[in-house]
């Protein structure tokens, strides 16, 4: 199942875990320097190797998709926005359950991504590594004993492994602690980003923590370091929650119910407002104040209300006001469905 359709371990505070492994073929320049002919040849070789591996991938030709469909792939975290900006030919191999996505022709020739709901780093890495081993056994991969897997950027060389965990940190956000967290974690070699990646501000109290270092550390040590950082951040958040909201605090219940009220009745809603309200609702789920709702449902809603996915399901391009309208429709229906599913008390 897709990560956004389920809630995994520690699912109350942790939205998803993600692994990315970078691999390159010998004998071809890195992504940005490929000629169109080399790019096409390279993609065919990788597709061929994956096709005969016995794994079942959907071979997606991005150039055949509408801009809305492409954007929706970004919103579902199946491809990076950079993949759509490459001058050379690119491609996507998608595992049937969407838990594995292989980007072809990004900055590195091959980027294997594995996604899981909740805090599930090691299984996610093992899944990606299995794919990587299959590819390594079929194609000549750029690797040496000194530096490991050779990548376009020296910040990825070695394991080529980037692991990230998306967490819901409403109390730390409320208490203004995210900046301090970012600063402290960066000293330890970890990056903190907002929901929309690289350069975004925190939205919906969601924060992604990932490793910066890829060389001079083994895969398992790297994952266990990140796991420990995530655990410590969880403890910080739990402590901050006691301070910011007590579970019986009427103000917290009020906040959660107001979020449900607005989500259930608004006719126009921006993505920003929706993400903040969904954060309040998620907090309600975590504190047991929102019966009928689940973390998995909120994960799924977060994707459904993004511009590309909205337009894809509408089947046509929508301008911003139209999107706000469609977004409100999606949210109202979801709240109504949850209401129907909950026996009236």
């Amino acid at each position: 199942m897709s990560w956004y359709l389920e809630a995994g371990p520690e699912g109350d505070l942790i939205v998803s875990s993600r692994i990315r492994l970078a691999r390159n073929l010998k004998d071809y320049p890195f992504g940005a320097r490929l000629t169109p002919e080399q790019g096409t040849e390279l993609l065919e070789r990788i597709r061929g190797a994956c096709r005969t591996s016995g794994d079942d991938y959907l071979d997606i030709h991005l150039e055949d998709l509408s801009p809305q469909e492409q954007l929706s792939l970004v919103e579902r975290r199946l491809i990076s926005p950079e993949l759509l900006e490459q001058p050379n030919p690119v491609g996507l191999l998608l595992g049937r359950d969407e838990s594995i996505a292989i980007m072809l022709g990004e900055e590195d020739h091959i980027r294997i991504q594995s996604m899981r709901a909740g805090l599930d780093l090691v299984p996610a890495w093992e899944a990606a590594d299995t794919v990587a081993r299959t590819i390594e056994s079929r194609l000549p991969i750029a690797w040496n004993e000194r530096y490991g897997f050779l990548t376009a950027c020296p910040t990825n060389v070695g394991t080529g492994l980037r692991a990230s965990v998306m967490m819901h940190l409403p109390a730390l956000t409320r208490l203004g602690q995210i900046e301090a967290l970012t600063r402290n974690l960066s000293k330890l070699g970890f990056t903190v980003r907002g929901y929309h990646g690289e350069h975004s501000r925190t939205q919906g109290c969601l924060v992604q923590i990932s490793n910066q270092l890829t060389l001079g550390i083994s895969e398992r040590d790297l994952l266990s370091d990140l796991g420990q950082i995530v655990e410590q951040t969880l403890q910080l958040e739990r402590r901050a929650r006691e301070q910011a909201f007590g579970s019986d605090d009427i103000r917290t219940a009020d906040r959660v119910q107001r979020a449900i009220g607005i989500l259930g009745h608004a006719r126009l809603i921006t993505s920003e407002e929706a993400l903040d309200l969904l954060s309040d609702l998620r907090l309600g789920v975590e504190l047991g104040l929102a019966p009928g709702f689940s973390a998995a449902q909120i994960n799924s809603l977060m994707i459904q209300i993004e511009p590309g996915t909205l337009q894809k399901s509408a089947g046509r391009p929508l301008d911003a006001p139209e999107r706000d309208c469609h977004r409100a429709d999606v949210l109202r229906e979801a709240i109504a469905a949850a209401d129907r599913a909950t026996p009236a008390s």
């Binding site: 590594d129 390594e136 004993e145 530096y147 050779l150 950027c153 060389l215 550390i217």
Partner: protein, 222 residues
């Protein structure tokens, strides 16, 4: 870490100043750094501010230390893709996997600053077996004894595998340390000169006027 000047933006520029032998470090965001009039670097920071999201690498690549680094690597280029060392520092990106070998003599200090270590400790490539690597029987023999080390024969040096060249340089470094330890500064200076000769030879690559038995040129990428 936040910028020391505005206390607001993330610091991405690290400036080391040495005044009267005293070293001080300043941590600034690209924006503030571009406003400061540190004469020769002003233009660099301005450029940096425009590219602020590229953050870490840009600040590293354009830092005064790395400017010196670029000068030291002048003339280094990848034989497979043609990328030269200065362009690598500027963009922060390699052109192809052969670039690692081409720039190897200069990579470790850079990797040391942006990574946990400078050597790979992850799992080996699938299907790779240590035994199939040509474990160079010549390696121990190639390690120079000290006398030979100092009177370096360029042809001989070029004929060594890269790992052996590295071992040679390491041996020189330890000889230098030993010399310093016994306060034999003349010898230490000779070691230092020899190290510099080796690094220069490594940087020049096999195409430099070397011995007849320079290692095979790498096959160019298609």
């Amino acid at each position: 870490m936040n910028c020391e000047r505005c206390q607001r933006n993330e610091a991405s520029v690290f400036i080391t100043q040495i005044e009267n032998g005293k070293r001080s470090e300043m941590h600034l965001c690209a924006e503030c750094a571009s406003k400061l009039t540190i004469a020769p670097f002003k233009a660099i920071w301005q450029q940096l501010a425009a590219n602020a999201p590229l953050g870490l690498w840009k600040s590293l690549a354009t830092s005064p230390q790395m400017q010196g680094e670029a000068a030291g690597g002048a003339g280094l280029a990848c034989p497979a893709c043609g990328l030269d060392y200065a362009e690598f520092l500027r963009s922060g990106k390699f052109g192809c996997s052969e670039c690692y070998a081409a720039f190897q003599s200069r990579l470790d200090p850079i990797l040391g600053r942006i990574q946990r270590g400078t050597r790979y400790v992850g799992r080996p490539l699938e299907g790779w077996e240590a035994s199939i690597l040509p474990t160079p029987p010549a390696a121990p023999a190639a390690l120079p004894d000290t006398a030979e080390t100092l009177d370096l024969d360029p042809a001989r040096f070029h004929s060594l595998a890269p790992e052996q060249q590295d071992a040679w340089i390491r041996a020189l470094r330890s000889a230098q340390k030993d010399a310093v330890a016994v306060e034999d500064y003349e010898r230490a200076a000779r070691c230092r000169d020899a190290i510099q000769r080796c690094l220069a030879l490594q940087a020049d690559g096999p195409d430099a006027p070397a011995g007849p038995d320079a290692p095979d040129g790498k096959e160019a990428a298609p």
